[in-house]
Subunit: 182 residues, 2 copies
Amino acid sequence: MNFIELAKHRQSVRKYTDQPVEKEKLEKCLEAARLAPSASNSQPWHFIVVDEPELKNKVAHHTYEPLISFNKFVPQAPLLVVIVLEKPKVITQIGDMIKKKKYPVIDMGVVAEHFCLQAAELGLGTCMLGWFNQKPIQKLLNIPEKKEIGLIITLGYPPEDYKLRKKIRKEMNEIVTYNTYK
Amino acid sequence: MNFIELAKHRQSVRKYTDQPVEKEKLEKCLEAARLAPSASNSQPWHFIVVDEPELKNKVAHHTYEPLISFNKFVPQAPLLVVIVLEKPKVITQIGDMIKKKKYPVIDMGVVAEHFCLQAAELGLGTCMLGWFNQKPIQKLLNIPEKKEIGLIITLGYPPEDYKLRKKIRKEMNEIVTYNTYK
C-alpha cells in the first residue's frame, strides 16, 4: 500500500467486534508512534494502554455524553490508548514562550496519526477522541493532576461489513494557493 | 515501503540541492495532506506554496536567526509550504472552549506529517519549522493579521550523499505503560 492508499484507507472506525488486538500488532502501532518526529526531538508523550476490561470500560464511560449519544461506540473498542502530554525539552519550552506556540500539541497530532496509520495498515480500526472528562480519567489511571491528557485513541477490529467511506474533503483549490494567501 | 520503513525513512532534511521539485510530486504531497483527518473533519488549514525564488528567500530569511545559526539551511530549499490555521467548524470551536483544547493545532500536526511522509516516499526531503517571525511573513504573503501561521515546511531534494540517520528515540518502556500511568 503506498502512502496515498494508506491515507485513504485510514478512517475513523466507530464500530468494533469483540476480537482482541494481538500483542504484536499493538506493539507495532506503538513502535510507529515511537518513531514519530517532534519539535527538537522532545518526544513529549506517554502512552497508557488500557486493556483491562473493567478499567477500560470505566475510562470509556468518561469519553461519551449519553444525552447526546456522542462517542457512545467507545466501550465496544477492546483497547484504548491514552496519550499524556509530557514536558518537552527546555529549548522547546523557551521556544513555546517566545513564539507563543504549543509545540507538544502539534507533536501529539503527529504521533497519534503515526499510530493510526500503522493500525490501518494492519487492518485495525482507530478513532481519535479529543472529547473526554479529564479529571476522572486521571484518577482511574493514576495520572498526576498537573499532567494533561492530549488524546485518547480507540483500537480494535471493525466488523467485516464495515465500509471504507469515501473521503469528504475540501477541493485542492480551496486549500492551496501559490505565493500569496488570496 | 511499509509504514514502519517509511517512518524510519522520513527525517528532517537540512541540506538541499538546486534541483527543482516536480509539480506532480508537490501535488502528490498536497493531496496526501488534503486527505488527512481533522477534528469533526473541519480541515482547518490553508497551504501557501512559496516557489517564486525571490519571495521564497524573503520568507526563508524570517525563519532563521543568523546570530545563533539556527535554521540557516532554509534558503537552500527550492520551495516552502506555509500552513495557515483556519477556523474550524462551530462544533469544534465549542468543543475547544468547553474542553480547553486546541483541536486545530493537533490537526496541523497530523496534516503536516501527512505532507512530510508523502514527500519521503517520493525521495524528497522536508523539515518542519515552528520557529519564524510571523508578522513579516504575513505581510509578504498577504495573510490577514488575525490568522496564525502554524508551521512552515521546507521541500526539496537532499544531496545524494545525505545520510539517513538512525532515529534517536526514547525506549518503549520509557513511554508506554499498561493500565496505569506509573
